[in-house]
């Protein structure tokens, strides 16, 4: 009857049917999963040489920690968030599938970031020791789905794109090295658009990307390979921007009741571990923001959790023990760092397990960054307590007794009290002092010159700024 508007890509029915099948497939029993895996592997190896080695008995599913998402969903429901119990169950199956197919030690549902074309369901994973790094490369070749590990390749492809908006490449003078399997890259994130879709691994994040992400505010599209057209330019694709925002959210909003984790006081490198002697906090105690602590370290100005102080040499040391390819930017000779940018100035690493009550407030005195709420009004003996973060709308944690859960569901942007103003264009650089340029003589001057043609009026007019502005 009517036309116009843009059609959805999703619209073809076969795609849905497949998606529905994927969703139903999640409900396979263990035996069915093993059969399917065996079939998959057989198909893969079928092209290879030794088919005899692959037998059904070989299929071992990875085992690891996976929380009960239903229970979490029930708690989060008290806080008015989460996905509801039915969806939580589907998510649980999807996470279970991920856990069984990768050498993961633990998986947690991070949450969801909305995109304009499709959303990202995000799983936060910890690889088993020694796993993960090499796999990523292998799979990148194998499946073609995994986004490359470092941002430089993506940038390269961006540069090759003839349609890309030419943005001035302002390189930070000193590259802060990336954290490897620690700090902001402690966890690996996998994303998918819908429950049942294939999980895609996000690249690890560079300090540069985190710093750049702080300066921009873009809607996600749902396409990991989409360019991030922004000013200042973002060093990477949407996958990297997504990863950077996830890191910012994770390190700002992942909290737990005080005492659930304890830090092993290992001088320089304190790590957290579960507290076996954790005493459950009651609702009243949980309503005190000082009883909620961050268990992920804060990200410093320089985009790392551990401060990196550049040595005063031209050439910074590359982290030598990592085998994987380093950022290309690291090798670009940098202009002399004068003055030292803010992010290289010494900055104190805040203590681990800092109370959320100490977070920088939204409005001093009146509006702290977090609010704790009792989630049940009338029969509060069994009440959960939630803490919501106002800086990252959509971030919420909830606890009851010895259980707690964190989630983020939102557009992936930090709260701004004022309208977002893109960073101003860099100041127009000083015009180099014109050494030889002369003002075009005016007609009168010329006439005069021609008329007089004597050296008594050799002075030129002063250089005028107006001409600059009009360029």
């Amino acid at each position: 009857t009517q036309t116009g508007g843009k059609d959805l890509e999703h619209l073809d029915a076969p795609a849905w049917k497949e998606s529905l099948e994927n969703c139903v497939k999640l409900f396979r029993t263990l035996e069915e999963v093993q059969e399917d895996r065996a079939a998959e592997r057989a198909a893969l190896v079928g092209d290879g040489s030794d088919e005899d080695e692959v037998e059904e008995e070989d299929i071992e599913l990875n085992e690891g920690e996976l929380p009960d998402l239903i229970e979490e969903a029930q708690m989060l429901e008290w806080a008015g968030t989460g996905f509801g119990q039915t969806e939580a169950y589907r998510l649980q199956l999807a996470l279970k599938d991920l856990l069984e197919s990768q050498p993961l030690q633990s998986v947690r549902l991070f949450g969801k970031i909305f995109g304009t074309k499709s959303d990202y369901i995000i799983a936060e994973c910890l690889f088993k020791d020694g796993e993960g790094e090499s796999d990523a490369e292998g799979e990148a070749e194998e499946e073609g789905d995994v986004v490359d590990e470092d941002g430089s390749d993506a940038e390269g492809s961006e540069a090759e794109d003839p349609h890309a908006v030419p943005v001035p490449k302002v390189k930070p003078p000193v590259t802060v090295p990336k954290e490897q399997r620690e700090g902001v890259n402690k966890y690996t994130y996998f994303v998918c658009s819908h429950v049942g879709d294939e999980w895609r691994r996000l690249p690890s994040v560079t300090p540069e990307q985190i710093m750049a992400a702080r300066g921009i505010k873009k809607y996600f599209t749902g396409d990991l390979y989409a360019d991030v057209l922004s000013h200042p330019p973002f060093p990477g694709t949407e996958a990297h921007y997504l990863r950077a925002q996830i890191a910012r959210i994770a390190h700002a909003c992942t909290v737990s009741p005080r005492g659930f984790f304890v830090s092993d006081e290992d001088e320089d490198d304190p790590t957290l571990s579960k507290n076996d002697e954790f005493e459950e906090l009651n609702a009243e105690e949980l309503l005190d923001l000082n009883n909620w602590v961050h268990h992920e370290p804060k990200i410093l100005l320089q985009g790392r959790t551990k401060h990196f102080a550049p040595e005063e040499e031209e050439e910074e040391e590359e982290e030598p023990e990592e085998e994987e390819d380093e950022d290309d930017e690291g090798k670009i000779p940098k202009p002399k760092p004068t003055p030292t940018p803010n992010y290289l100035l010494p900055e104190e690493e805040p203590p681990l397990l800092e109370a959320v009550g100490d977070d920088e407030p939204i409005v001093e005195e009146t509006h702290p960054a977090w609010t704790a709420r009792l989630c049940r009004q009338l029969t509060s003996d069994y009440a959960c307590v939630s803490v919501v973060n106002h800086k990252w709308p959509g971030a919420c944690a909830v606890a009851r007794g010895a259980q707690f859960a964190n989630i983020y569901i939102g557009y992936g942007h930090k709260w701004t009290d004022t309208a977002y103003t893109p960073a101003p264009l860099p100041e127009v650089q000083e015009e180099p002092a014109s050494k030889h340029e002369k003002a075009d003589p005016t007609v009168e001057a010329e006439a005069e010159f021609e008329k007089k043609d004597d050296p008594e009026e050799g002075e030129e007019e002063p250089n005028s700024d107006d001409s600059e502005d009009e360029d």
Binding site: T81, V195, I362, T371, P422
Partner: protein, 321 residues
């Protein structure tokens, strides 16, 4: 979200991060039924949630038989009792637009807005006060400060506003307006309703007497239509349609196309449309009001919408797409 379809549609919005706990569901089912009975509404919808700093606001709306006209908005924090939100005057609306920052979660919280009194204004304001009965309530909350009289009645308030009181020394007259969060919230709901209120095409009907009702014959959009923004309309008094040319109007079915299409909104690109993984639900999201989500299950009469946000219009949308 229609009350009648309430628990079912709640499941629809779970994937967008909106849930209600058993306490809230139980309380709401009872209290909204009561609201509907007491006001004899033809339709009651659960409108959504505006998160405040300390507590959240839950909003419901009741409709008289003409759905586009008689609409009342209610607010609740406990979900047990609903209070009607006040009407918002144009002056209040403009002032509310200037307010930034999170909602506090306290309906009686007062925002103080200090405006410069333009030299030509005071007489006008006095005239209004005399002539317009409806506004008298609101205007009585405002005081002209800087005049050295008539400030005795609120001694305690003056301390708070000490900083502002120093300004009048410049001999500019300033007027202090007070806006309660209740009014700000009412203005917000109006603004969001104006910009959103999305329904699938054909869900609402207008009859010869210009009365708007739900179309009981509506069988839902097709899968193809449901994925197309041009099949969604603003359920608000139309603005664009009346301005269309006769030629354009001749292509419309005026019984159902009396509403504005959302894909004609300015700025373009302020809507995002998606299907869920299994193709059973299409969702239409406002990027101008992040948190507003309308949904429709193609081939069924099921549609609805919900707002779940912090009440902030996305002023940055131009940069973000």
């Amino acid at each position: 979200m229609d009350l009648a379809e309430f628990p079912s549609n709640l499941e629809q919005v779970g994937p967008f991060g909106f849930t209600l706990n058993p306490e809230q569901r139980a309380a709401m089912q009872a209290s909204l039924s009561q609201l509907k009975a007491n006001y004899k509404f033809s339709r009651v919808i659960f409108w959504g949630r505006v998160s405040g700093h300390s507590r959240d606001y839950y909003i419901a709306q009741g409709f008289d038989s003409d759905l586009l006209r008689g609409k009342r908005t209610f607010v609740s924090q406990s979900l047990t009792r609903w209070a009607q939100l006040p009407e918002v005057t144009e002056a209040q609306r403009v002032r509310c637009e200037g307010l930034a920052g999170l909602y506090t979660g306290d309906l009686s919280y007062q925002y103080v807005i200090v405006e410069e009194v333009m030299p030509w204004e005071p007489p006008k304001e006095k005239k209004e006060r005399g002539s317009d009965d409806e506004e008298s309530e609101e205007e009585s909350e405002d005081e002209i400060i800087g005049d050295d009289d008539e400030d005795e009645e609120d001694e305690d308030e003056e301390d708070e506003n000490a900083t502002y009181r120093k300004l009048p020394k410049k001999k500019t007259k300033l007027r202090r307006h007070r806006i309660t969060e209740e009014v700000r919230l009412a203005a917000l709901v109006n603004s969001i309703d104006d910009d959103t209120s999305v329904v699938p095409r054909g869900a609402a009907l207008i009859d010869q007497a210009d009365r708007v009702s739900m179309n009981s014959h509506f069988q839902g959009l097709s899968s193809k239509e449901a994925g197309n923004l041009s099949f969604y309309l603003h359920f608000r008094p139309p603005r664009v349609v009346p301005k269309k040319t006769l030629l354009e109007k001749s292509r419309l079915n005026m019984a159902i196309d009396f509403l504005d299409r959302i894909d004609e909104d300015v700025p373009a690109g302020s809507w995002s449309i998606q299907y869920d993984g299994t193709g059973t639900t299409a969702s239409v999201r406002s990027l101008l009001w992040p948190g507003y989500i309308a949904y429709h299950c193609p081939g069924s009469r099921r549609f609805g919408a919900i707002y779940n946000g912090n009440g902030v219009r996305n002023a940055d949308i131009g940069f973000m797409l």
